[in-house]
């Protein structure tokens, strides 16, 4: 079709589409669509308060500096602790508009993971990279057959996943071995 004022027409008519697709056109009228218009002032929500009662604050809760006050309800999963907690509290000195806020939080996440791995070695249930990565499902989930001969785009980077997971463990192991060797050498002298 040349570039004219016409819009390309679908190959199938309304009747054909209705016969082929269950429910075709049931929401054709925008007024039947629940998010039309986008804002519906006065929508019934079930709230029986103008402003909710306030949840007690059991520790100094991290708060975006873009908020006027602590929200009346907030999550209480995993309060900040350790050095990662210090980093996280510091990150909340920056607004959500600053890259520093997010980059410090991401760095704190990595520190938090290592704090937790190390702490786990002092418990009866140390971290186990085999069970916790679920990698054994490679056998039950047909790891080879699911990947190869299937034109998957993600194979170009999937090899990086075990590097991301395993490299810090390998480096930590190498560091521990190096430290032990250094200790032995010092004792021999």
């Amino acid at each position: 079709m040349p570039y004219t004022a016409d819009k390309p027409q679908p190959k199938e008519s309304r009747e054909q589409l209705r016969a082929r697709i269950p429910g075709w056109g049931a929401d054709l009228d925008p007024k039947d669509r629940p998010s039309y218009p986008r804002e519906q002032p006065g929508i019934e929500t079930g709230a029986h308060w103008d402003f909710p009662e306030r949840q007690p604050e059991s520790w100094p809760r991290e708060l975006s500096i873009e908020h006027k006050f602590l929200t009346p309800v907030f999550g209480t999963s995993t309060p900040p602790s350790g050095f990662s907690g210090v980093m996280r509290k510091y990150a909340y000195k920056y607004s959500e508009g600053r890259a520093a806020h997010w980059l410090i939080l991401l760095a704190a996440d990595r520190v938090n993971a290592w704090e937790s791995h190390l702490r786990s070695f002092t418990t009866l249930r140390p971290d186990n990279p085999v069970t916790e990565t679920g990698v054994l499902s490679e056998f039950s989930g047909h790891g080879v057959g699911s990947r190869f001969g299937r034109k998957r785009a993600d194979l170009s980077h999937q090899w990086l996943d075990p590097v991301v997971v395993g490299a810090p463990w390998v480096l930590a192991g190498a560091g521990a071995v190096a430290a032990l060797r250094a200790l032995r050498l010092r004792r021999r002298r």
Binding site: P10, S35, D109, G134, E138
Partner: protein, 382 residues
């Protein structure tokens, strides 16, 4: 209680945790009977979402039975079977009172740019999620709904996010009769968006992915034409050819932060965390929609910057529409569609995994093993 617990990127395990307590008079505690892993949970699992803390329980798609209610709860009682939308919302702030439940201003102390989401990092409020035996549900009079007697529990759990989000994505496209709608991503949200586009009168629905088994599902479940982008030098040119060099009227990005198709974009976001997400699918959407068309963004992205081709969006005069889905607002209409047989959400469920094996479930979903599309988590499979 037993609960899934995050241990760091790519690592989770099941631990014994305390049963959550009522912390606010309008809280309820729900005993989870069925949960799901969402594609967006993988962004947490891969360590991409800032302030994802070790010890958190993920899971924003779940249904269950009310175990305990706070003193001000009027609409629910112990023993009720409930479905819980992934949004936590107060029902009374400026945004909620206009139906923008996903933008609630009263539930997320950690950020103002996003509302509250169960089990989705502290950036989304720091609430534990439902991949566990019990979960705290704030604003019990506002969020949860009773599961209708006639509704299958697997359909109900898919209504808490995936189906509602796909349907919402199609709505944001402002589809008119006869429109050509292209959907990037044949995961659960993409499949539901494609299916919903027909309900809104699309004349043609095209789905793009690189996983052939998912494209097969798009053909059988969503009646869509499909393209595997790995088979073409340039999927944008292919879509232009397929639309008489016009472009699709509406394009829906149902991929989000870990889009494939560019090694550099993927690695810089997923592995190196230098971007809020890999915008490959979003950029393809911008390039393959027609001038003056609409791009609906349903894929989840992190809060940091991403390398989006904004200039093309400006020059083409596009309408870009996006939001987290206000789930509960979609339910009455979606209940009708399910009851009328137009939608059968549980048709996309491929795996039912006991909570004790959730680490394997995450790995399979992340690595796309065993033709996985939608895994459900069963807390008390024994």
């Amino acid at each position: 209680m037993r609960a899934m617990v995050y241990r760091g990127p790519y690592k989770i395990r099941v631990e014994e945790k305390d049963i959550p307590k009522i912390e606010h008079p309008n809280d309820a505690i729900v005993r989870v009977s069925l949960a799901a892993i969402c594609g967006s949970d993988l962004h947490l699992y891969h360590g991409m979402m800032p302030d994802t803390r070790v010890g958190m329980t993920f899971g924003h798609e779940f249904v269950g039975v009310v175990h305990e209610v706070g003193s001000s709860v009027q609409n629910l009682k112990v023993g009720d079977r409930v479905m819980v939308p992934f949004n936590i919302f107060c029902g009374s702030c400026y945004f909620c009172s206009r139906g923008l439940y996903s933008n609630c201003h009263n539930v997320n102390a950690n950020a103002t740019a996003v509302g509250g989401i169960y089990g989705y990092s502290h950036t989304c409020g720091g609430y534990d999620g439902g991949q566990s035996e019990f979960v705290r549900v704030p604003f019990a009079d506002v969020g949860p709904s009773l599961i209708p007697e006639w509704m299958d529990e697997e359909d109900a759990v898919l209504l808490t996010d995936a189906l509602a989000t796909g349907y919402f994505g199609a709505q944001l496209g402002d589809i008119t009769e006869g429109d050509t709608v292209a959907v990037f991503g044949a995961g659960p949200v993409g499949l539901f968006a494609a299916k919903s586009a027909w309900l809104m009168g699309a004349g043609r629905v095209i789905v793009v992915d690189h996983l052939e088994y998912r494209l097969e599902k798009a053909r059988s479940f969503a009646h869509a034409e499909t393209y595997n982008f790995r088979e073409y030098d340039d999927i944008v040119v292919q879509l232009k050819k397929a639309t008489d060099h016009f472009g699709a009227d509406v394009v829906i990005d149902a991929v989000g932060a870990e889009a494939d198709g560019s090694f550099l974009q993927h690695v810089s976001s997923s592995q190196l965390k230098l971007q809020g997400g890999s915008p490959v699918a979003l950029n393809w959407a911008i390039d393959s929609v027609r001038k003056g068309g609409t791009v609906s963004v349903m894929g989840a992205y992190g809060p940091m910057f991403s390398a989006v081709k904004f200039g093309d969006a400006v020059n083409k005069g596009l309408t870009l529409r996006m939001n987290q889905c206000p789930v509960k607002r979609q339910w009455p209409r979606l209940f009708e569609h399910i009851r009328n047989g137009y939608l059968k959400p549980s048709d996309i469920v491929t795996h039912r995994i006991p909570l004790e094996h959730i680490a394997e479930g995450y790995h399979m979903f992340s690595a796309k093993l065993d033709n996985i599309i939608k895994p459900l988590i069963v807390p008390n499979a024994g």
